[in-house]
């Protein structure tokens, strides 16, 4: 019995297989009825459990294979979405959802494959099955693992492609619109903490205008509405010029808020760093003055020494003076000696 279905032809031998299974079951059950001994009942039970385990294995393997197939289909969808992204119509939400789903699937499949491998190993260890079955089960597990690895690799490639695309879009967006878009994401992340800090502008109005006035697309939406507003009114040349400038300034409104806050933050930083510098200057000053204090002490000691020395010398001189001035009797004696010498000298010459 052969049936041609699609591309492949197959022979449907299911009824034969079912009859064989029934016969086997009958033989097993008849065997167990005839033989009351535990060993024989144990054996058919063992074979039945072996069969049961094998079919369990097969069921799991087939489930995993199906899961991998579904995941790869979702991956191809994701790849198409990622390739498709254009500048303005970015299906970010879908892509992110799909990415999350695929990630979950892959982890679940991973866990299932690991389980399957454990089952296969335990099966191999428990024995009483043919080598063919073991090789078959190991091959199946390996095959599933390979397919899962292939799917994970594809997933990674799709993610890298998506990040590259995003970068390209960012560059293109920067090229076409001016600085407004570049700060589109950042000011709103930074604005809130600074807005709460600034004392004057603590009104609840700021977040909604910024949230509403995000990205260049919405500011360019303001643009056309202003245009229509302008054209409906009579214009003087000055007025026109003023409004044109206004429109140009409108787009820069959001960065201006941010730059105001930024400049305040910058000024505070400057003040803080100046104060730090001042403190370091003060410490330096203190060090220098203490060092010079030591010098002053040395000078003081030197002067004390000088004073002592000069006083001592003065004492000596005073004593000398006293001795000189009070020694008249000694001087008379000296004169006497001199006169005696003169006399002797005169005697010898004359």
């Amino acid at each position: 019995m052969s049936a041609a279905l699609g591309k492949t032809s197959y022979r449907d031998r299911t009824p034969e297989f079912l009859s064989v299974a029934e016969r086997l079951k009958k033989s097993i059950s008849s065997g167990s009825n005839a033989d009351v001994s535990s060993s024989s009942s144990g054996k058919p039970d063992g074979t039945r459990s072996a069969v049961a385990v094998q079919s369990e294995f097969n069921k799991r393997a087939s489930k995993i294979g199906f899961g991998i197939h579904q995941t790869s289909q979702k991956l191809s969808k994701l790849a198409k979405l990622a390739k498709r992204t254009s500048v303005f119509d970015d299906p970010t939400m879908e892509i992110q959802e799909l990415t999350a789903v695929i990630k979950q699937d892959i982890t679940a499949l991973n866990a299932a494959v690991v389980d399957l491998q454990l089952v296969c190993n335990s099966q191999n260890e428990s024995g009483n099955i043919s080598t063919d079955t073991t090789t078959h089960s190991t091959t199946v597990v390996d095959n599933l693992k390979n397919r899962l690895m292939g799917a994970t690799k594809e997933f990674k490639e799709v993610l890298t492609m998506r990040t590259e695309n995003l970068k390209v879009h960012e560059n293109r967006r920067q090229l076409f619109s001016s600085s407004a878009s570049k700060d589109a994401a950042n000011p709103f992340v930074r604005q809130r903490p600074l807005a709460s800090r600034s004392t004057a502008s603590a009104s609840p109005a700021p977040p909604p205008p910024w949230a509403n006035g995000s990205a260049s697309s919405s500011s360019s939406q303001l643009f056309p509405s202003r245009q229509s507003d302008v054209e409906s009114q009579p214009l003087l040349p000055q007025q026109q010029q003023q409004r044109q400038q206004q429109q140009q300034q409108q787009q820069q409104m959001v960065p201006l808020q941010d730059s105001y806050m930024q400049s305040r933050a910058e000024a505070l930083h400057n003040v803080e760093s100046t104060i730090h510098e001042l403190s370091s200057i003060f410490t330096q000053l203190a060090t220098m003055v203490s060092q010079q204090g030591e010098l002053a002490i040395r000078i003081d000691e030197n002067m004390d020494d000088t004073l002592t020395n000069v006083e001592g010398a003065q004492g000596q001189l005073v004593r000398y003076l006293n001795s000189i001035s009070s020694n008249r009797w000694l001087m008379i004696k000296i004169f006497f000696v001199l006169v005696v010498f003169l006399m002797i000298f005169l005697f010898f010459v004359a």
């Binding site: 109005a205 300034q249 808020q257 003040v271 200057i281 010098l295």
Partner: protein, 199 residues
């Protein structure tokens, strides 16, 4: 570094023109015959800018050689006409102060104003005169300026301390020389005293 005018306006919605609540302008440096037209110009530009500033936003517009800064808070808008050198941040802090002061003085009465008010608000005129120097308006700028001056003074102090150090060095040397000389003197005197006791 000049403020030409300060205005306080009430702008409720984008449909109607803002209503002027207070106006202070300094047009003395224009010729006498141009002053009325300059004043009108200020009024008109102020109205336009205030109309285009959404609530809770600050805005700066460059017009010829003036920068017009506007700050809108809950329908009360302060507009300032400054030249290009006036720092933007100081101008916004000045506008903040003006709005606060106005709310403190007049409470909520301005919300019912329907026509331009022609009476002068003395505070605004004083502010115009006082805040010609941006440091007055912006405390940060003032603090920065003071700190810079202090830093300069400290630098000079350090220089003088270094000079003092040098002088102290020379003093140390001289004093040590002096002490050595006095020691010699003492020894000499002792020697003179000790040698002539025989005679």
């Amino acid at each position: 570094m000049k403020i030409t005018a300060l205005l306080v306006l009430k702008c409720d919605s984008d449909s109607s023109d803002p209503i002027i609540l207070a106006n202070a302008s300094d047009v003395t440096h224009f010729g006498y015959f141009q002053r009325p037209s300059i004043r009108q110009f200020i009024v008109f530009v102020g109205r336009t800018v205030a109309k285009r500033t959404p609530s809770g936003q600050r805005q700066s517009v460059q017009h010829e050689e003036y920068k017009v800064h506007a700050y809108n808070r809950n329908g009360l808008c302060a507009v300032g006409f400054m030249d290009d050198h006036y720092p933007v941040r100081s101008s916004f802090s000045l506008l903040n102060q003006v709005v606060d002061e106005y709310q403190k003085n007049f409470g909520e009465s301005w919300r019912t104003a329907q026509t331009d008010s022609t009476e002068t608000w003395q505070y605004l005129n004083d502010a115009l005169v006082r805040f010609q120097d941006p440091a007055e308006a912006d405390k940060l700028l003032k603090i920065q300026r003071d700190l810079d001056e202090t830093k300069i003074v400290l630098h000079k102090t350090i220089d003088s301390v270094l000079a003092r150090g040098e002088k102290l060095d020379s003093l140390v040397e001289k004093s040590s020389d002096l002490s050595a000389a006095s020691q010699m003197f003492y020894k000499q005197a002792k020697k003179t005293n000790s040698c002539c006791t025989i005679l």
